[in-house]
Symmetry: C2
Subunit: 255 residues, 2 copies
């Protein structure tokens, strides 16, 4: 395919994901307000120029994400739930979380280095122990105040022949650099979290007293083939944000 300046979105994958994005867009922009009923499936399918099967594919995904609710014989409705700002279900970065809270996101003390992977890191990233990893450490600020200390760890081979990339990661989102410069799209991640107290090194970097309350988040991100790409450790100030999670079930015990 000849290279165009901006490949709108034509080439990517199944057509149903385009439909999904179009519908989420309409919901986000308020074109489809919460609680309202969507047009019927045949009508909406014709309007979007796809078959009803493809539309249903997209609707099923949206229902799984909690954005719409389908009722047999009645219609499909936009969920009127609290469209929570930073839901942990979707894999946002720290920058997005800060901006979603209406504050200005910044970075301090950004630095990176290479080191041999520890046994734990090698296991998470599917490397041989001792292979080099790139560690990117940043202190993220909201309106100038340090709120998160993050350490992102990824295989060094990703940036081996691209010397400038590590510097880019200090300035921009790592997800963004991975996708735009390396063509690696993060598909999903698994996060584990626990309350901890700030030890002396973390306290110094975040400029808080030792023993302060933090939420520690360990996360591993995978691409669409379940290959581990990056492992992250984050320490969040306890009162910086509230995290929310949309939980499914247990209302499916009937069978």
């Amino acid at each position: 395919m000849p290279s165009r300046g901006r490949p709108v979105k034509a080439r990517t994958g199944p057509r149903s994901v385009s439909v999904r994005n179009e519908l989420t867009d309409r919901i986000d922009r308020g074109v489809l307000a919460a609680g309202t009923r969507l047009p019927s499936e045949p009508a909406l399918a014709t309007e979007l120029g796809v078959s009803r099967a493809t539309l249903r594919e997209a609707l099923r995904t949206l229902e799984g994400e909690g954005l719409v609710r389908r009722m047999w014989g009645s219609g499909t409705y936009v969920a009127q739930g609290p469209r929570v700002a930073n839901s942990l279900d979707v894999n946002f970065g720290v920058t997005d979380a800060i901006r979603a809270a209406g504050m200005e996101a910044g970075t301090e003390q950004g630095r990176y280095w290479f080191e041999p992977a520890s046994a734990a890191e090698a296991g998470q990233l599917n490397l041989e122990p001792g292979q080099d990893v790139l560690v990117v450490e940043r202190v993220r600020t909201a309106d100038g105040k340090p709120v998160v200390l993050s350490r992102d760890i990824l295989p060094a081979r990703f940036v081996a022949d691209r010397p400038g990339l590590a510097d880019q990661m200090l300035l921009r989102s790592i997800y963004e650099v991975l996708e735009r410069d390396l063509g690696i799209a993060i598909h999903h991640g698994v996060a584990t979290f626990r309350p901890v107290r700030a030890d002396v090194t973390v306290a110094r970097q975040l400029d808080i007293p030792r023993g302060e309350l933090l939420l520690a988040i360990w996360q591993v991100d995978y691409d669409e083939n379940d290959v581990a790409i990056v492992s992250s450790h984050e320490y969040h100030l306890a009162d910086a944000f509230d995290f929310t999670v949309h939980r499914r079930g247990p209302g499916r015990r009937v069978q």
Copy 2:
């Protein structure tokens, strides 16, 4: 509408959910091991006795839940991802979490009372301020050691004419009582959490020093019609469990 609180086991739902349950069962039982490829859609559809469209509906749901991965032209594979024990994505109760960790779940200091709803509670549960709510407070133990203090708040009218139900809630899971005795199935919930320090009352109930690390979780559960049913406050010992979350995306966002 005829008053049918909840028909026994009349398979009210769509057939695709039965297919979904059957497939999750096979994955959970190990019949379909992680990483293996499922039979092709036509083959699996005939085996399950449904059309391919219905099977795809179920597969779509499973993909959204992260249990399988579909690859165009290749096949559908059981996700070999971390089938984490207590993932926050699914709405388990404290009892399930304790048992999943291989410990014995118990309850201490269970008690309940009625009180007028506070403004915040009334808003969450869609009540008039001042209407009575039932508050169920329990200390949950794992192998005899207190690990969670929980307060569940629900409209008093649910148990107004069933005096024994509140006592049942001290012994069994509230979800279970809601579903079996009241015909109310919790469909989903939204949880918010934050690290906190134990104040004096919480510390006394959990038998820990004041200032100990806790994870506070506020949650509101809804039925299938987005009606708020119960509001919960839980205080978890920081080192009792690790919570994990499966995070989608960021994949491809248009904007």
